[in-house]
Amino acid sequence: MIDFRISNLIFYFILIFIISSNIVFNSIYFDLTLISCLIIYVLRWNETNWIICFVLFLLGIYNDILVSTPFGYASSLFLCFYLIDRLENYLSIPSNTNIRFIIFLLLMLILFSINYFTIYFIYNTPISLFINIIPFMAVILLYYPIDFIISFIQNKYVRIK
């Protein structure tokens, strides 16, 4: 059944807002696609709401069209973080924020390595390690503040789980 509760719509809107802000913010320090991934990872999604998967897929395509990244790049990232979150839920990890943070950190490092080697081998372009690691580090640093804000909102105002 399609779940159109206002609480879910708020989070969809937050994600659309962050992705859309790409046309305003053009910074080498913050990658809004990665920040969206962080929010997807931090949010406590409804386990039985299948529309979330489609929304994340479509948001990824929207991000790709807007930013001109290859098709499937953002949607695979969004769904990857969503799946990891689901998997952690299944393994009862979410109660421990530190373990979740370490998993997120490892994911970011893996993602950075894949990104770097893809550009290096497919596009034959040795991009600067320092410049490209900055947005990943920024997202890692933002983990605890965003986790705190999202948890605060979800605990106080909404119950989507």
């Binding site: 659309i16 053009n26 990658d31 069209i65 949607s75 769904l79 991009i127």
Partner: protein
């Protein structure tokens, strides 16, 4: 035995498992699209050009609060800059009035020398001015979105330039917005000519780093500071437009600093080069 199998089936068919399976399926579809390089297909190009203006319109509306914050910060910075410039202007006012006469006489002299040397004016092209509406230049897939009042006159591969030199080319367009692929984009390839000796090479975008020039035969003759211009080969860009300057040479790797900084621009010009070439 049958009981346990039924339990397992029930577990797989439970709503949460179904959502999980759906997410995995969509994840693999996305991965296939990405790794299969779907963006290179014609259907993907059509999809992108048809949907760019829709996605831009959505993001334009949704990101209004971000735009307001950004323009507020920008206004404060601009105001600070104006005050600084005013101070500087007041300080220089006296000296400038004295040197004005000198500048005018210098300009007259230059004009006389140009006449004596029989110099011709730079070749000029028809152009369309466009406004930059979104800037994604700080990514390894550097692009900008532009909007023009004469969108019907734009075409794919139209050269884009700033006041000082070349910026990139139009990569996709529809009736409202067009996307310009910048020279620092890792997909960008530009035939260039280096120094007065016109050494030929191909400039390749490097994302956030400076572009590099490859396939230069006489790379040993190139020096730091040499001017890089378009060579005109390939027929997309007109020749002799300034691209940048050689900043570093490491073996066969020639690094170029671009003359145009797109983050400083609000408008660009699109050269009607193809139109001129067809008429010739």
């Amino acid at each position: 035995m049958r009981f346990s199998r039924n339990l397992r089936v029930q577990k797989i068919l439970s709503p949460s498992s179904r959502v999980f399976i759906l997410a995995i399926i969509l994840f693999f579809i996305s991965l296939i699209l990405f790794l299969g390089r779907f963006e290179l297909t014609q259907s993907a190009k059509n999809l992108r050009s048809y949907t760019t203006s829709i996605s831009y319109s959505i993001s334009y509306i949704v990101s209004t609060p971000s735009k307001l914050i950004n323009s507020g910060i920008q206004s404060i910075l601009d105001l600070k800059e104006i005050y600084n410039q005013l101070d500087e202007y007041n300080r220089n006012q006296l000296t400038e009035s004295a040197s004005f006469q000198e500048v005018v006489s210098m300009k007259l002299k230059i004009a006389q020398y140009e006449d004596l040397l029989n110099l011709t004016a730079d070749q000029e092209y028809d152009f369309i001015t466009s406004r930059i509406v979104a800037n994604f230049s700080n990514k390894f897939i550097g692009t900008i979105l532009i909007k023009s009042d004469e969108a019907e006159k734009l075409f794919i591969d139209m050269p884009a330039a700033g006041p000082d030199g070349i910026l990139g080319r139009v990569s996709s367009l529809d009736n409202k917005v067009a996307r310009v692929l910048l020279l620092n984009n890792i997909n960008s390839r530009l035939p260039v000519s280096i120094s007065e000796d016109a050494h030929q090479g191909i400039m390749i975008g490097q994302g956030q780093n400076n572009p590099i020039i490859e396939y230069v035969r006489e790379y040993k003759n190139i020096k730091v500071g040499d001017l890089v211009t378009t060579s005109g080969k390939g027929g997309i860009f007109p020749p002799y437009l300034v691209v940048g300057q050689v900043t570093r040479i490491k073996g066969e790797r020639i690094e170029v600093e671009l003359i145009e900084d797109v983050s400083q621009l609000t408008h660009i010009i699109l050269l009607n080069y193809k139109f001129n070439k067809d008429n010739e």
